[in-house]
């Protein structure tokens, strides 16, 4: 199996940011993203997804290194101060490099 190296950017943040981040990620050069509703606990306390204002979401973006850098630096600058946000990047291998 031949795979091509890409970055997987994972962002866990407040549900309130869904529409804004979706636009932001595409503008930064992502080719797409996946969103999931998640629950958990962190420095902002437990997020139980019990009702609208309590939702947390997880964005997953597969992209090349340059776009991953851009996403990480932009989000850190614009959202880290005011929002609950965790971002990490993993090295992954994809089968169809033209897609990402």
């Amino acid at each position: 199996m031949t795979t091509y190296p890409r970055k997987l950017v994972v962002i866990i943040t407040e549900g309130a940011l869904e529409a804004i981040l979706a636009r932001e990620l595409m503008a930064l050069g992502a080719h797409g993203y996946t969103i999931a509703d998640v629950r958990g606990r962190g420095s902002h306390g437990a997020r139980e997804a019990a009702w609208e204002a309590d939702r947390n979401i997880r964005f997953e973006v597969i992209c090349d290194e340059a776009v991953a850098e851009k996403i990480a630096s932009t989000l850190r600058e614009k959202y880290y101060d005011d929002y609950a946000m965790t971002l990490f990047v993993a090295d992954i291998g994809v089968l169809r490099p033209q897609k990402f």
């Binding site: 407040e14 309130a16 940011l17 529409a19 804004i20 509703d37 902002h44 306390g45 139980e48 997804a49 019990a50 009702w51 609208e52 204002a53 309590d54 005011d82 929002y83």
Partner: protein, 314 residues
């Protein structure tokens, strides 16, 4: 008269949470129930709106919008100067209290229907009118504090105006108004007869959600507890007097008092996270859900009925 079963369901939810039960309504069910409640309230109001001359309602509607603009302006200085909260948190919490809670309104409505107390049936229209002004005033106050980055009013307006609650309430009102009572009769069983049962289920979940916020109150201190109970009472008085002024009946006065006393926990938190991100949502939600919502549904609704009677000199 014993406690309303709807309130007992709420208390069961609170107990479930405090006892660390694993009880939780699935999110899809919570959303489904809230869609039902919004539509049912809207339809009921719309059916009755069809029987009213609009010219009578318009001046009342204007007064209600003014009420929605004034309430957060009153809450803000209390939060900032007595509560010593920073500018952004004071503005954000003021916005929550300027806006309204549909579920609190539903509980008040059920209270009146149970006791066969007459009220203007088009009051759901006022829920729609009161949801937005408080939020806008809160955002404007926050901007006076400086440091708020450019606000994307267009996307914010889209979010607030076309969010689920306004869309379904206003949509229900329109459908009821256009279709009229006779055409809606076949749907009456679902939307009107089952209303209280659905509200009871929803209140079970609200009890769980509200109790989840109670623990945070220990950290936020006594001011928010005092604010969360006293401010609604003051607002209820203002809302009640407004109701009297615009010629509402006792039932209508009580509903408007309840609306003024209630605080938003869906539309306002979402809008504030986007428009005033510096504000800490844990503070506003602890006050709104941990204090004001339980206070209003357990004690407030009967209190505001008593208040409405006094305002009408009865």
């Amino acid at each position: 008269m014993g406690l309303d079963p709807v309130v007992l369901f709420f208390l069961l939810g609170v107990a479930a949470r405090l006892l660390r039960s694993d009880l939780r309504l699935p999110e899809a069910m919570y959303e489904g129930l809230s869609i039902f409640l919004l539509l049912a309230i809207g339809l009921k109001g719309g059916v009755e709106l069809a029987r009213q001359p609009l010219a009578d309602i318009l001046p009342q509607a204007g007064a209600v919008v003014v009420l929605g603009l004034v309430l957060p302006l009153l809450a803000f200085p209390v939060l900032k100067y007595i509560g010593r909260l920073d500018h952004y948190n004071a503005a954000a919490i003021a916005a929550h209290y300027g806006s309204v809670s549909m579920v609190t309104f539903a509980v008040a409505l059920a209270f009146l229907v149970d006791r066969a107390i007459a009220h203007e049936p088009y009051l759901p229209l006022f829920v729609v009118l009161l949801e937005v002004p408080g939020i806008i005033v809160g955002i404007l106050i926050a901007r006076l504090g400086g440091g708020v980055r450019r606000i994307a009013w267009k996307s914010l307006a889209h979010e607030v105006l076309f969010g689920r609650s306004i869309l379904l309430l206003a949509g229900g009102l329109l459908i009821g108004w256009i279709a009229g009572p006779d055409a809606l009769a076949p749907q009456a069983q679902l939307f009107f007869d089952l209303f209280k049962g659905v509200l009871a289920l929803f209140m079970l979940e609200m009890g769980i959600v509200a109790a989840g916020r109670i623990r945070q109150l220990r950290r936020t201190g006594p001011f928010l507890i005092a604010f969360g109970t006293l401010m609604p009472m003051v607002f209820a008085l203002i809302g009640g007097l407004t109701g009297r002024l615009i010629g509402l009946s006792v039932g209508g006065t009580m509903l408007l008092a309840t609306l003024a006393a209630s605080a938003s926990y869906i539309a306002a938190p979402a809008a504030m996270r986007i428009a005033v991100p510096q504000a800490n949502p844990a503070l506003s939600l602890a006050a709104v859900l941990g204090v004001t919502f339980p206070f209003n549904v357990v004690l407030g609704v009967s209190l505001y009925y008593w208040l409405a009677l006094r305002i009408h000199g009865l």
